[in-house]
Symmetry: C2
Subunit: 414 residues, 2 copies
Amino acid sequence: MQPEDLILVSVDDHVIEPPHMFEGRLPAKYADKAPRFIRRPDGTMAWVYEGVEVPNVGLNAVAGRPPSEFGFEPVCIEEIREGCYDIHARVKDMDANGLLGSMCFPSFVRFCGQLFLENGDRDQSTAMVRAYNDWHVDEWAGTYPGRCIPLAIPILWDPELAAEEVRRLARKGCHAVTFSSNPYALGLPSLYTDHWDPLWEACQDEGTVVCMHLGSSSQTPSTSPDGPIEVIYSLSPIGLIEAATDILWSPMFRKFPGLRVALSEGGIGWVPYFLERVDYIYRHTQHWSGMDLGGRLPSEIFKEHVIVCFIDDEVGIENRHRMNIDNITWECDYPHSDTTWPQAPEIAMRYLSSLPEEEIDKITHLNAMRHFQYDPFRHIPREEAKAGALRRRAEGWDISIQAKAHLRPATASA
Amino acid sequence: MQPEDLILVSVDDHVIEPPHMFEGRLPAKYADKAPRFIRRPDGTMAWVYEGVEVPNVGLNAVAGRPPSEFGFEPVCIEEIREGCYDIHARVKDMDANGLLGSMCFPSFVRFCGQLFLENGDRDQSTAMVRAYNDWHVDEWAGTYPGRCIPLAIPILWDPELAAEEVRRLARKGCHAVTFSSNPYALGLPSLYTDHWDPLWEACQDEGTVVCMHLGSSSQTPSTSPDGPIEVIYSLSPIGLIEAATDILWSPMFRKFPGLRVALSEGGIGWVPYFLERVDYIYRHTQHWSGMDLGGRLPSEIFKEHVIVCFIDDEVGIENRHRMNIDNITWECDYPHSDTTWPQAPEIAMRYLSSLPEEEIDKITHLNAMRHFQYDPFRHIPREEAKAGALRRRAEGWDISIQAKAHLRPATASA
């Protein structure tokens, strides 16, 4: 198998929402309450909702820029690739990267829609979430059938409404919802309460995967304020071990045996150690702590219910025999700084090449297709879905690395 | 190789300090300021220093009790094995476990002596640290030559005095000092400052290993207040990834190329993933973040300077080719609840049996001997140091599992 033969479905990419997204999608009484995309007097850009400015339009959208410009958080839309926010350009960028399918997490509303939890009255913000999801499902994922796995944001302040929204979107073909890796950290009831049961029940009924992305606890890993940026990068993916811990010891999977959680951008290389450790713990604590997993080991529960993914993780692939091969998925992380775009097939093949073809297919696309009820082959024949075929469609599309720092207002006016 | 052929040196055990430890070791003016071991009116016990009561005498010292009693924090000395606090009984417990050597972390003063940082005037607490260390080196480690690796606690409030204490103890043969896995969390300057340079310099000069034990940041891992005890166990060892992150990105190893840090009770199964991840990060960030590791990869720095250890870690052993085999050590964790006592040889052999004898010897004792300048064979011939030979010396020593809960005051008086 060669890189051009891979069929790549990424379960973690990012959309930078375009300015028009709420147009025509809100009830009349909230139409003028929608978040607005503005250019500020200094030339930088922001979204504004309920008077709160969210200044970073790009959220680390550095794909296509030289590494020396990484770390410059984009402040105006001119700095980022059109593929970040325009679905037509995005599909071109996907083609050029040999990427068949992509599930895109939100940006300005934050990983699980915290913006709407923190601002606006509840009824209004509920309307915003629904409008956001309609845009995402109908336009972002709907324009090019078979290219995007739709992903909803949740109504965080009301589990009944959240459940209803999951059911509504499932009817539109959306079987993934973002959620916080630690709702307690957002000021909400923890995963140890029964508060979220209506939402879990809806997800179980509809076969909707709960996606916990790194950062969705609204907490940035830090050891001291004078640490370098590398500390955040070092501790971020593995930080999802906290979510993995909570979902294992919480009763949620025992109450909802059909529920599945995806740890998004969590990496996989730490998982084998974690599974050995939690089993060791359970063997020691079950005699006195009151924990009762119903005759199962925590590692068994994890392997059944938890979907993991990775960008570049040789250690994890080498240790896949200690995980459930049917729950390992792959991601591209476009357009963030960890992305392998536009060399995803070649980079993935570096550590996949030694695997049996059956395992490669599971990891690169079959697992994602099954878990997210996503069938690209209804729209694109399998042969045309391979990296090499997609790339041929994008011939002439400019993927050259381009400096953009000079386009930001502070630089331009300096 | 059979379990009885192992030569086992544990780099992480725990001493429950005995009541008499400060007697005759303090300057006259501080003699009556020493921490006192008291029995309170309700029958429970505590150490008292500067009016502060430290109630838990045993700190999870559950070795030898039935699993159903684990989780009962001992509150009186009758509940714990004599081997916890009496060196003669300890050596018997070591013999019965086939354990040749042991490095013991402190208990009531906490992992890096936080008690003396938080209480007492500086001059007085300095005297306490010195007395503590004299007791530890002279009595605890000195009574049975070749059986204990001495380990000092630091003078946390003054790096110059801390350096002087390291040098003083090195002259007494002590080449290990505990330290906080995150001094910033203790209210002290972080590892990114040059504040600790005098201490690092002394450790480098004297070949003294800086030991960062889990919990030495005084922070208990938690995701929400309603989580079960299993959350703490799940996140504790791997929590040392924060210390691993700090020491790699801090300039300490670049400034002190002879310095070594041990991550105590940190486990090893997560290390291969971590090393792959930090290299990935550095390749991406070095172009813009200002981080300069002098042409080396973070994984290379880790492999040279960082000593890791494990209790029971099949994943880590299976992935040892991704670590430095010369820096992997083993621990027994007596008398805490994770301990493998008194079956350490059998449990260790479960995953060591497939290794070449040379690697087994490095992991079980040679690495610890070299790093801590510890030479038990000066006192005990190699043949007599093996697990089987030691166990024969302990024939008749009672290691039966014994219920003790009925001995605690609340139970006794109920």
